[in-house]
């Protein structure tokens, strides 16, 4: 059995009288691609903020990369990476400068930064762009670079928010292949997205509704269980019971 890198047991988060996360329990494993889905307002953002050490649970046990989200938030932050579709990179810095900046923020030494920059540029075949400003790169390349930068410090987990939104189908697949490679290296990929066809690429997905996890399985098992042909239909059935 693979090691658990995220362990959540009865996580509750309240804001005043409002319960944003209502007894969430789930585990995510090393090297797994886990899709975390839910309608707007279902409580995803709250949960992710807790998982990434930005907020602490009201009650329940949350361990991320072996650290407790209530008491060791700083350690969690050092062991995770984060990429959102927009704003990840500094547009007015070059590719090389962005890598160095993030390396520094993640606490890598000068020699590690030099070494990993070289590896990254070669692996992405980015040598011809190294001194280009981010603002001059096409969207597809920006996304690949954002992802590479988010795992520069070899975190245990990387959080991706709508990772392939808005890119063309080929770039999108190249991006998923990067994600697969990264997962094979043992880094856990935690994906949030509104796009259910993106969810189809995950190993397992959970669906949240009104602060609770209402489904958690592989995409194919969920489709079987609800007797439909796409995750989108599963989602609509769950988030809008009684309709369709």
């Amino acid at each position: 059995m693979k090691e658990k890198v995220i362990e959540v047991e009865n996580l509750v988060k309240r804001f005043g009288h409002f319960t944003a996360n209502d007894r969430l329990s789930f585990d995510v494993y090393e090297g797994e691609i886990f899709g975390f889905l839910g309608a707007n307002g279902a409580g995803k953002t709250t949960a992710i903020r807790i998982l990434s050490g930005l907020s602490s649970p009201t009650s329940g046990k949350v361990k991320v990369a072996g650290f407790d989200a209530g008491t060791q938030a700083e350690m969690i932050k050092r062991n995770i990476g984060y990429m959102c579709q927009k704003f990840s990179l500094y547009e007015d810095l070059t590719v090389r400068e962005n890598i160095a900046l993030y390396g520094g923020i993640y606490g890598l030494s000068r020699s590690e930064i030099t070494e990993r920059t070289a590896q990254l540029l070669d692996r992405l075949r980015f040598r011809e762009y190294e001194n280009k400003l981010i603002s001059d790169l096409p969207l597809g390349l920006k996304q690949k670079l954002s992802f590479a930068v988010a795992v520069l410090h070899e975190p245990r987990i990387v959080f991706l928010d709508e990772p392939t939104g808005g890119v063309d189908p080929i770039t999108r697949r190249q991006f998923w292949e990067m994600i697969y490679e990264t997962a094979e290296r043992g880094i856990t990929i935690f994906v949030t997205t509104h796009y259910m066809d993106e969810a189809e690429y995950c190993d397992r997905i959970s669906i949240m509704n009104d602060g609770r996890i209402v489904a958690l399985d592989t995409p194919s098992n969920l489709k079987k269980q609800y007797n439909v042909s796409s995750v989108e239909e599963v989602f609509i059935k769950i988030a809008r019971p009684g309709v369709g």
Binding site: G38, A39, N40, G41, P138, L139, G165, G166, V167, D168, P169, I170, T171, R173, W176, E177, Y180, E181, A183, E184, H194, Y195, M196, D197, E200, Y201, T218, P219, S220, E232, F235, I236, A239, R240
Partner: protein, 308 residues
């Protein structure tokens, strides 16, 4: 059936960048016409030209029989435009925004309420709330209500469903379908292939060029090769294994499976054995139907991605 938009040979450059190159298409009355393509494909530039907000460098565009350059004032009264970026007044309430748009176009909320009732009723309970304080799905509903309140003949929606959850998206498309009853023509853009099937006709757009224009079914069926769907628990290994076979033409991850085409449109002899030799022992192989995305992949592969 009358033609609502007729574009021929539209081109637009920004400096050295060609945003649109020789774009021609026509949109018929009461049709939902979708432009499907990634960010940066030229969708927004094209929509600004359709809505008279931008002039093309060359080519012609007629909207509702009028010339967008000379008759822009008349045209703007007939067009409802919902830009990609939320552009309502954040510091006005829901109701004030709607009233403002109605007034600008010389109408009232009451007069055309039947048109927006479907959507507006979802946000009406919050009509005193500032627009800036609404959730993504509610902003989208308000923006659409504002674009519809003057009963336009043509509704132009730039990526209306970006950032919106699947349930709201599905409701949104249901609502667009109902606009046909009122003879409102809809032009809509999206980067998401799965929304293509909700349109009457689509245009696939990439790097400022149209790659295909037709009904979603025809576009999808233009994928002529036999397509196989192969699954394994080790997807990445499987892709690499498939690519190493001489018989493989293309192999792309597609959700939980890998979509593959082979030379001569048939499975290679001993495929199972070849995969086993490459470390894949659990492959399940089925023939599958192509979708819009398969066709889009095929089209862009034969155009510019050849070098990549």
């Amino acid at each position: 059936m009358s033609v609502v938009v007729q574009a021929s040979g539209l081109s637009k450059k920004f400096g050295q960048t060609a945003a649109l190159e020789d774009i021609s298409f026509s949109v018929n009355e009461s049709e939902i016409f979708g432009f499907i393509g990634p960010d940066g494909a030229g969708k927004t530039t094209l929509f600004r030209i359709i809505t008279t907000l931008l002039l093309p460098d060359s080519g012609e565009i007629k909207v509702l029989g009028l010339d967008g350059t000379r008759n822009f004032k008349e045209l703007r009264m007939e067009i409802g435009y919902m830009p990609g970026r939320f552009s309502l007044y954040q510091d006005l309430s829901v109701e004030e925004n709607l009233e403002f748009y109605a007034t600008v176009f010389g109408t009232t909320i009451e007069e055309n309420y039947y048109l927006i009732k479907d959507i507006y009723s979802h946000i009406e309970p919050f009509k005193k709330r500032l627009a800036g304080k609404l959730s993504g799905g509610m902003k989208q509903k308000l923006a659409l209500s504002c674009a519809l309140i003057h009963k336009p003949k043509l509704l132009v929606l730039d990526e209306p469903t970006t950032g919106v959850d699947a349930v709201s998206r599905s409701e949104f498309w249901d609502m667009l379908s109902r606009l046909r009853e009122y003879n409102i023509t809809v032009i809509v853009s999206t980067p998401y292939m799965d929304e293509a099937m909700r349109c009457d006709r689509i245009a696939l757009i990439q790097n400022g060029k149209l790659l295909a224009v037709d009904t979603p079914t025809v576009v999808k069926n233009e994928f002529r090769r036999k397509l196989f769907s192969i699954r394994s628990a080790e997807k990445h290994k499987l892709i690499i294994a498939l690519r190493s076979l001489d018989e493989t033409i293309s192999s792309f991850p597609f959700g939980e499976s890998v979509h593959v085409t082979f030379k001569n449109d048939r499975l290679p002899d001993n495929l199972d054995l070849s995969l086993r030799e490459r470390g894949i022992s659990d492959a399940s192989i089925t023939e599958t139907e192509s979708g819009i995305e398969d066709r889009f992949l095929e089209l862009i592969q034969t155009t510019e991605h050849q070098t990549a």
